[in-house]
């Protein structure tokens, strides 16, 4: 326990599906949480739904599809990222986190039937050996937040080492570099960290997230080891003083990284389904950014009024451009109008966002 990072100290109960009780992930969790006796869930039984507790780690036999497309929405440009689904929920407490609305419980779930995952990935990658994949695990959980317990990303990296046509992005708000030594080719792994204005990182990313400096220091360590890193300004938050905040973060980025060490940088404005607003007002009553000028977008989600988004994006993009980034910049879930206003180009001008980011991920290899 004492060797585990503080963001995992809250776990007080481990539940394991009987069919995965002897899986490598379950074995590791037992070793690393020796003070907890795992409860074995017999075949056919499920953990009671509606569990609001975030102190339960559930090692589950997952029966759905592991490899899937990012749930982008209509009317806006999606980056075409594919998800390797390794689990759900996160012990960190970010006020804006979409997972609050995605899932009805807060149980930390890990898909421990990795053999099924490997089979599905083998089948997918072998059936299209010429096709390149940009995949990531940071959609429904933080890619690395449970790494110290499960070693999941380490396993995944070892597995994907056989597939040079696959580039894996590990998106996180913590610092865990324990997976680095198993990487066969650093050009096929993209460590990625969330970026935000310092005030947002301090106030809205509660729990035990690494500070921005720590994230960037970790990014620098990766860059020095030959990796290219990704940075995600998503969600950008509209708050009083946002200009100073985002300008400071850009300064910090270029204090730690050179432009060529960055594969890409995304910019996405805070957007949400109505349910998330209710979660935020209940769970984070001090968070006032949700009272900004949000309108219902073309996809039915709430998003900041377009000129306000454009102003923020333009400010950030200009600052990042002054630091030497340009082709690496992209907008997450935005329209061509916004692309044009912010970056002076649309995804179509770059051959499509999916293709462009694929090229960026693979270091410009076409």
């Amino acid at each position: 326990m004492k060797n585990l990072p503080s963001y995992l100290h809250g776990i007080s109960r481990v539940v394991v599906d009987s069919s995965v009780a002897e899986s490598p992930v379950a074995r590791r969790v037992r070793e690393r949480l020796p003070h907890l006796t795992a409860e074995i869930l017999p075949e056919g039984e499920t953990l009671s739904p509606g569990l609001a507790r975030e102190d339960i780690l559930y090692l589950k036999r997952y029966r759905g599809r592991f490899l899937r497309h990012c749930p982008g929405t209509s009317h806006y440009r999606c980056c075409g990222y594919q998800i390797i689904h390794i689990g759900e929920n996160c012990p960190l407490r970010c006020s804006y986190c979409i997972l609050q609305a995605y899932f009805h419980d807060r149980v930390l779930k890990v898909w421990a039937n990795q053999d099924d995952l490997w089979s599905e990935l083998d089948q997918a990658f072998n059936s299209h050996p010429a096709l390149r994949y940009r995949v990531g695990t940071g959609e429904f959980t933080d890619s690395l937040v449970l790494e110290a317990l499960t070693g999941y990303s380490r396993d995944l990296i070892e597995f994907l080492g056989r597939y040079p046509q696959v580039c894996l992005e590990l998106k996180s708000k913590v610092v865990d570099l324990s997976w680095m030594d198993v990487v066969r080719d650093p050009s096929r792994v993209l460590p990625a960290w969330s970026m935000n204005a310092p005030a947002i990182a301090e106030r809205e990313e509660q729990g035990e997230c690494a500070g921005l400096e720590e994230r960037l220091a970790a990014a620098r360590t990766c860059a020095q080891a030959g990796f290219r890193v990704c940075l995600h300004f998503d969600p950008m938050i509209h708050f009083p003083g946002w200009q100073d905040g985002y300008a400071r973060t850009v300064e910090m980025i270029f204090d730690h990284l050179r432009p060529e060490q960055i594969a890409y940088v995304s910019m996405g404005s805070f957007r949400h389904m109505p349910d998330l607003k209710r979660s935020i007002t209940e769970n984070f009553p001090e968070s006032t950014y949700i009272y900004g000028e949000f309108i219902t977008g073309l996809d039915g989600k709430q998003r900041l009024l377009r000129p306000l988004r454009v102003e923020q994006f333009r400010f950030l993009a200009d600052a990042l451009r002054r630091g030497g980034l340009d082709r690496q910049l992209y907008l997450c879930m935005e329209s061509d109008e916004v692309w044009q206003a912010v970056l002076g180009r649309t995804p179509a001008d770059m051959g499509g966002l999916y293709r462009h980011l694929m090229a960026q991920a693979f270091g410009g290899e076409t």
């Binding site: 009272y291 000028e293 009024l305 377009r306 109008e337």
Partner: protein
Amino acid sequence: MNMVDVLTHASARAALLRCPASDLDVGGPWLFWSAPPTPALRRSLENRGQLIPVLVDASGARPVLVAGAARVRVLAELGREALCLDLGAMDGQARGLAYVQSNAGREVSDGQVVLAMRYFQTLPDCDQAAVLESLGLEPRSKRLRLVRSFLSLPGRWDEFLCAGAVPLACADLLEAFAPGDLEALEALFTTLSWSRGSAVNVLTWIREICARDQAAVGDVLDGAGVKDILAGGLSPKDAMNRITQEVRLLRYPALSGMERDFLTAARAVSAGTRWRVTQPDLFESDAVEVCARLTSPDAVRAASAELARIAAREDLDDLFVVGRE
């Protein structure tokens, strides 16, 4: 309406008695829905006399009225006796339930439910299930949740609810305001009766402005010019529209400005034509919608010519830049 026959409680020992109406103790707090007698009731009692007994608890020195306050009031004014059905000794809960049941034939409004619940919640060891059942409230219903929220408000808000000035749907919004802010909000409901949708919108916006700007409700209402609007002699409908508009302007200043600019540009280009020009998606796109309702080929030809004139206008660009600025 009296429905004595549904009072199963009284069936075993109920007895009829007569006493001067003015001798009855009519001050019971369980008479929570009592209203002044209607002219029809007064006429009926004057012309035909009392046809249905009022309910009393005659176990004490003086009969206590359990239900039938309006009739007793008229009979007392007429100096007559009241025909009473004595239900025997009853505690506060039984009197309240008997009162509700004696009114079981009529629809119970949200305000009446709140008044009843206020009475029952003052009673120690009250059987909540029996109360909810008598009021027709489902234990897990949204209505009960809202009623409970409303009960957390000061009692004077009951008047607004009973008068139809504030809808019950606003209860959870109102509950979230601090006492001083609630007091400031009373100005909105003293003379105006809000529809559910408008009230929810206005209160939501006010709450969000307060949270966003760390402001008190009084300051927000001042900023919206509510005092002047209320004192301006507008019709209630116009006053509510104006307040809604001003509060929305404070909540969405940039969007409101864009809407104003678009409206100005749209009016300029479409003036004198049958075309209606609108922005369809809250400025998410640069799109503009132009529509006309036409009822004859001649109207189509005329509208077509008008559209050609609109297309030739130099200020047409103004319509398409609002969302970009």
